[in-house]
Symmetry: C2
Subunit: 292 residues, 2 copies
DNA sequence: GAAGCATCATAAGATCATCTTATGATGCGA
DNA sequence: TCGCATCATAAGATGATCTTATGATGCTTC
């Protein structure tokens, strides 16, 4: 038997919501109806589509069905758009994942322009999570650091984010009076985004060839991380694009020539949707800022 | 109200079949049910989707719905394929338009290779018609002479078909003993595909700078047109690729250096279907034969 | 560990969309 | 003019799917 569109859309809703009951609410149905739809779907394709845990976990078959459902949603939005270009009640919603630094520095301007006919859901997540969100179908596209496309996705390079180690002149005078050496770097406090943020460690390794454990402060917001550094909380890695926005003289590079390049890529589902196309080209346009 | 997938698929079936009754048969329904589905659809989107003539003619809104339906069909096939790679009962059907010369000379070999997991419907049509079939959603892809993509389609260049004016040595001796001039060209009979085939006229214009009206024979089949020329029915424009297959000496060029280049493009719907992707790459591979 | 809550499954009947049957109108060709 | 093909509509039949009701399970909280 064939998978019914309704069934696929239901499974997609369950995946985004995480539970049957939440999906039922979203679909304006009783939980029982949702349960029955899932059962019917599983009977139709002859195997389970998800594991009943919280939140639900899709089986491979379930993932295929959800992909179908998501594409159907977009197709449907496209059709509505063609039929009633005026009525904007049901403009499609595109969900994308952008890491915090990109969102803060370059991603937003282009996206704003694309938002005429699209409703955006921007998820601010780090690398690991962003690929997971793509895989689960929660997001349609993502800015990632890995260029190899997920199965079912296409990937295109966006450019390179260049990070530099910076601090205030006062901070440098206090901690690096004897120069930026293994000794001083081991004691000077560093400000990072969170405990997964390894940019600083990569710099330290390149600089000293050993693993250092300086004091660390975590500031999990890009703008505020910049502020923290400007206030002398520590030194840290900031993108060139963010540095360009600071008043000159407020921060200084630890080692002027040193920098870390993080290549960024746009990954999106291989599906046809004018809405998604809009967003993709908007991101690409924004990423012009990443070109040297 | 939203367009239901069933309704879109129904309209698509009506379009391919031409009448409600034929569509009903294909869908294993009564004509009445089909009629009611169409009515429900028209009420849902608030305007007619087709004109009730034979065969039916879609309105712009109807065309949008049919496109949606066709894409849904492909999506659905893809899903089935993913869920049951073994059961090949419902391999997707891809419809493409290829002009006669391309079909005869270069298009088929690659397509044959792609046919493992795809059922092909090849429509042999000339330029005007092929774009129309694309637009109406009857075909998923087409080999066209125009490179500017239709709305909703993507286009990629395939290469160039080079045509040369040829005839038999005997024909040349009889008609062109005084050389290939405006005078001789005006009287020597020419063989063309049909009355829309303007390759010969383009050659004549380029050769003489005036419009000539030589006697014309129409042979609406590529292979047979070649045979006709070999039998001395007239001179005509044949693709290099076709000439390569003829025994040497059977035909000779009217003006050895003269040739007409027809650039070819592959246009297809911008949608994600592994089946369509297969066909597209097969066509592109075949088109290697068009590279100089 | 008992109570409370959230979650999913199942049975059974209600509801509603959609199909079939039956009939009629229209247009076209023989 | 008849016959045929086509599409529309009314009305009842059908059947899928929903809601209601209830129960099982597992996790949290006190």
């Amino acid at each position: 038997m064939r998978v019914q569109p309704e069934q696929a859309l239901t499974l997609a809703a369950i995946t985004t919501e995480g539970t049957f009951d939440a999906a039922a609410q979203r679909l304006h149905l009783t939980p029982s109806a949702v349960s029955q739809r899932v059962r019917a779907l599983e009977i139709a394709i002859g195997r389970p589509v998800l594991r009943r845990v919280r939140p639900v976990e899709l089986t491979p078959a379930g993932e295929a069905v959800v992909r179908f459902g998501r594409q159907l949603e977009l197709l449907s939005s496209d059709l509505s758009d063609q039929l009633e270009p005026s009525e904007n009640g049901s403009t499609p919603r595109i969900t994308l994942v952008v890491n915090s630094d990109s969102l803060h520095t370059w991603a937003l301007p282009g996206l704003v322009k694309a938002a005429d006919h699209v409703q955006l859901t921007i998820l601010r997540e780090d690398q690991d999570h962003s690929l997971e969100l793509l895989r689960r179908g929660t997001a349609h596209g993502a800015v990632t650091a890995t260029g190899t496309p997920m199965p079912g996705c296409s990937s295109r390079p966006l450019g390179v984010m260049r990070y530099r180690p910076v601090c205030t002149p006062a901070f440098a005078a206090k901690w690096f009076a004897d120069g930026v050496t293994g000794t001083t770097l081991a004691t000077a406090p560093v400000v990072t985004y969170d405990d997964k943020d390894d940019l600083q460690d990569r710099y330290l390794r390149r600089q000293c060839r050993t693993t250092l454990q300086p004091p660390r402060h975590y500031v999990p917001a890009t703008h505020e991380l910049g502020q923290a550094i400007q206030l002398g909380l520590g030194w840290g890695m900031l993108p060139d694009l963010q540095l360009a926005g600071l008043d000159s003289g407020t921060v200084t590079a630890l080692t002027p020539s040193a920098h870390l390049d993080v290549p960024l890529h746009w990954q999106q589902w291989r599906l046809t949707s004018t809405a998604l196309d809009h967003v993709a080209s908007a991101i690409t346009e924004s990423a012009q800022a990443l070109q040297p």
